[in-house]
Symmetry: C2
Subunit: 318 residues, 2 copies
């Protein structure tokens, strides 16, 4: 009788681990460091060891565990094969097989942003939806798409890469991905700060942003104080993101768009700047979408990873 | 023992019908007129009658038939409910239940462009792919997305609506959908003719297009004759479509993009104008996509509709 499931979210510095019952109640969570040395070859053995230790501590057997789900930052295809994850030092190999060989339990793996979207659908602000887009506004922009209740993985595991859609032909600076004019260059935390700095440099307009460090947080704090220059930045942020989401949602036809990541701590005001641009350009069949803020925070990944296992192949082409 | 399946493609003037074996061999095809009068209320009874007649003629029983799949122009959700199909006079109702009540056999229904994409995946130029985008360049632009082997239906059946993604902020003319700057306004047959007429009016450049009717066909015929103005139009067409597909494919991560519809009769030269723009802007994870021309022509819809039944709920959220 399968009663438990593990959800693992591998980040660049720490691995988050969650121990759940199969109904999705988080019974315990903990972290271990991510050892990226030696091409990241210690990461999966460390995860395996930590899970086995937890099972011993809880006195549960493999027969009671449905499996282990894992999300990681990189393209991971429907077979659980990662195709290079630069931040972890990983080249191309099967996460699924490697971890299953260590644990002798079923393993499922997916891209971290896709898996987080699944987590929000299951236990976060996307509950009740089968078709949602999650956009994670952090240092970069992560994206995850759930279509018909399933993670949209794509042919090579690069499905849901919302941060790198091309949104501006006039851009002269390069994005981290090598292209120019990616959404991430405008609407991530880094992008918002960049837009603000550019506006501050180009005008003499007085702004509270001139008197402290410029960040996505300081911009939206200033917006709440009705700072005119900050509001211009927020409009620009919203136009890029609203226009971009209008194109994506026009073809995905979700009922819910979840906004997460550090920038989303600014609150509902964020949606006020995105939604008008979204509604202006989106195909009418996708206009009535619900915009919500993510509620699981950093736990979305472990929830989604656990769910991946319970879906028993939800990220597999079948 | 299920040996046969029917595929039905409802168009504005005719209904195409296909009688297949379950391996996907088209045994016979025929057409009946689409009677759009009386709010299209005769269409499904006509389809039902025609199928029963064919079964009688072939002396096959309901026990031998896996079911009937149907594609129609309009948003059709995962439950087989159409949400208004203006061209047919249809309001909102369950196609699946209505036709099943007539036939007493399993029925599946989907949007015609989505279903055509499934057809090309099964028996056309998308064979071997599980993740593809099909774009149909006709009077308008239709789109269909297959992700993980399944039709991307969307929450309200508007999934895959590629023709109405917003691609130009400067457009002053309205699209049929009510928005301005939709892809369809530039890269459909109508859009290509519009781009050509606009260029002819704005310049004095000599062109073979000045000496005959201007259409998508005449433009690409002129391109093949190295007509300079026609080549400018082809570049503009390719930039809009290549840029648009780069955004969509960036999040869908397909391995194949199928170009179909009347415009695709221009041949491989079409791809030469789309691909460079696509490759310039797309996220690197989706760069190595295969561009192919559709091969099933007007039969893609009946093939895909038949496949919908054999997948037994491939367009259902489950």
């Amino acid at each position: 009788m399968k009663q438990y499931v593990f959800g693992v979210d591998v980040g660049g510095t720490t691995v988050k681990m969650g121990f759940f019952d199969v109904k999705g109640n988080l019974l315990e969570k903990w972290e271990i460091p991510t050892r990226t040395e030696d091409k990241g070859s210690h990461i999966l053995p460390d995860v395996g060891e930590s899970i086995l230790k937890k099972m011993k501590e809880k006195q549960i057997t493999k027969e009671e565990v449905a499996g282990v789900g894992l999300g990681a930052p990189g393209p991971i295809d429907s077979e659980g094969v990662v195709h290079r994850a630069v931040n972890l030092g990983w080249d191309t190999f099967s996460i699924k097989n490697t971890l299953a060989d260590i644990l002798h339990m079923p393993v499922m793996a997916g891209n971290d942003a896709n898996v987080a979207a699944l987590g929000e659908m299951w236990k976060g602000s996307g509950q009740g939806s089968n078709d949602l887009i999650m956009v994670t506004l952090g240092t970069g922009i992560g994206g995850g798409i759930i279509s018909g209740g399933r993670v949209l993985t794509g042919a090579g595991g690069a499905g849901g890469e919302i941060g790198h859609i091309h949104v501006d032909d006039t851009e002269t600076e390069s994005c981290g991905c090598g292209n120019k004019g990616c959404l991430e260059q405008y609407s991530s935390a880094t992008g918002i700060a960049r837009l603000a700095k550019s506006r501050l440099a180009k005008s003499d307009k007085e702004s509270v942003l001139r008197h402290g460090p410029v960040s996505a947080k300081s911009v939206f704090d200033a917006v709440k104080q009705k700072d005119a220059l900050a509001i211009e930045v927020a409009e620009e942020f919203g136009r890029y993101l609203g226009d971009g989401l209008a194109v994506i949602a026009g073809v995905i036809n979700p009922d819910t768009i979840v906004i997460g990541g550090g920038v989303s701590k600014a609150g509902e005001i964020l949606i006020d700047y995105i939604k008008p641009y979204y509604e202006k350009n989106v195909f009418h069949g996708s206009k009535d979408v619900k915009f919500v803020l993510a509620t699981l925070g950093n736990d979305a990944g472990i929830y989604g990873a656990a769910r991946l296992v319970l879906d028993g192949g939800a990220n597999k082409a079948d």
